[in-house]
């Protein structure tokens, strides 16, 4: 663990004002912002293995202190989230010093992750492990016919207690006004929310944006396979437009921009 921190310290030396890390103290994992002048503290820190929506904190820090330079340790999903967010001008990658972290095999399996490595980052610690081949839940859902699918989703969404945890933890959900709180679309106070609005609206918004980190699914108290739904839509996005969120800094979601780049000839 501590060699990872050493590496981060080495690489970020002189280039950052603070480190943002999830550390473990007395058995509790918490995010900590460690200023550079307290850097020797880092030697005594124990890095946590917990997956934490650190990216959301980075967004907030950058919003309030646009010039702060921050050192971060990122997993594959976090790196993808940063890339995707930078396309929507929510993150300034120039102010971040990133060191990648390959996920261990057990993490890969626990997360059912397809891309457990921050591809494209220069400095990465740990050995690259292959991702899983396919999301088993999605494979199951894809086997259903269309009316069975609706029944399947209905039985899942019926469990929703509308805690908004899925939205709150999502690194890609940065809107100040959320459509899920629009009373014209989602009836306030109605639990469970009427099919299909709440979940299908969120799903549509995540298409081409979701980096498949799985935090929403992990946090959902009702155990709804949210990420599998978003993955299904990301697959359509890839089939139709060749777009994969968070994978390439130079490509943009076909739903963001019109302009000359919107090639529709093949759609007509």
């Amino acid at each position: 663990m501590s060699d990872i921190l050493q590496k981060l310290k080495e690489i970020a030396d002189g280039k950052v004002d603070a480190f943002l890390l999830v550390v473990q103290e007395d058995g509790v994992s918490l995010p900590q912002l460690i200023p550079i002048d307290e850097m020797d503290q880092i030697d005594h820190k124990e890095l946590s293995d917990l997956r934490y929506p650190l990216v959301k904190i980075v967004e907030e820090i950058q919003e309030r202190f646009p010039n702060a330079r921050i050192g971060l340790l990122v997993r594959g999903c976090e790196y993808r989230a940063l890339i995707e967010l930078s396309k929507y001008s929510q993150i300034n990658l120039d102010k971040l010093v990133l060191v990648g972290r390959a996920c261990e095999r057990n993490t890969v399996e626990k997360c059912a992750c397809l891309y457990p490595y921050p591809y494209g980052l220069e400095n990465v610690v740990g050995e690259e492990n292959p991702g899983i081949e396919a999301d088993p839940k999605l494979v199951e859902i894809e086997g259903l016919d269309v009316s069975e699918k609706l029944r399947y989703w209905a039985s899942q969404f019926e469990k929703c207690i509308k805690c908004y945890g899925c939205r709150n933890i999502c690194p890609l959900c940065y809107c100040k006004e959320c459509s899920l709180e629009n009373p014209g679309l989602v009836v306030p106070g109605e639990v469970p929310p009427t099919l299909p609005a709440f979940h299908f609206l969120r799903a549509l918004d995540m298409a081409g944006r979701c980096v498949e980190c799985g935090l929403c699914e992990e946090v959902c108290p009702a155990g709804i396979p949210l990420r599998s739904l978003y993955r299904a839509l990301n697959k359509i996005m890839e089939d139709q437009f060749g777009y994969k969120p968070g994978h390439n800094l130079d490509e943009r979601s076909p739903f963001i921009f019109l302009g000359e780049t919107s090639d529709v000839e093949h759609l007509i």
Partner: protein
């Protein structure tokens, strides 16, 4: 009286409801032309005039299904004729995506249809409506209709 009442209710259940988003500049005028020319097409279509099909958010379509609509038609200017130049480019991309997404959700993708109808194409408008109505009739009422309890009973 009572009997009639029940019959009426049954009719209502069987009746197909179609919502059509029509762009002000082309398809709405096309629909108007179809009407002025007295072309025959099923009248049970609720239309919503929008300034451009590019303003039709996928939210509206999900909301329409939530409110018990059986089929949604989006009709606008032909590609290249959009009065806001590229509004319908976005529509083309969105609708193509949304059809597949509906399938993932468990709503038949045939319940959503995109058509380009110009102001001069009254006949095309009438035939699109006729054809779409037949298509939706064949599919039957939407599984999300509130008067159908199937989905609720899981």
């Amino acid at each position: 009286m009572n009997k009639e009442g029940t019959a009426e209710k049954k009719d209502e259940r069987e009746e197909i409801k179609i919502l059509a988003f029509l762009c002000n500049w082309c398809s709405y005028a096309g629909a108007d032309l179809a009407g002025v020319s007295r072309l025959q097409y099923p009248a049970k279509v609720l239309d919503v005039r929008v300034m451009c099909t590019g303003t039709v958010s996928p939210y509206f379509i999900i909301k329409a299904f939530q409110e018990g609509i059986d089929g949604v038609l989006v009709a606008g200017c032909h590609i290249g004729d959009c009065h806001y130049l590229k509004g319908n480019y976005m529509t083309a991309k969105r609708m193509r995506f949304l059809k597949e997404a509906l399938n993932v959700f468990g709503i038949e993708k045939e319940r959503l249809r995109l058509e380009w109808v110009s102001a001069a194409e009254g006949e095309k408008f009438a035939s699109v409506i006729r054809d779409f109505t037949e298509q939706i009739k064949a599919l039957g009422p939407s599984p999300l209709r509130k008067d159908r309890e199937e989905v609720a009973k899981v």
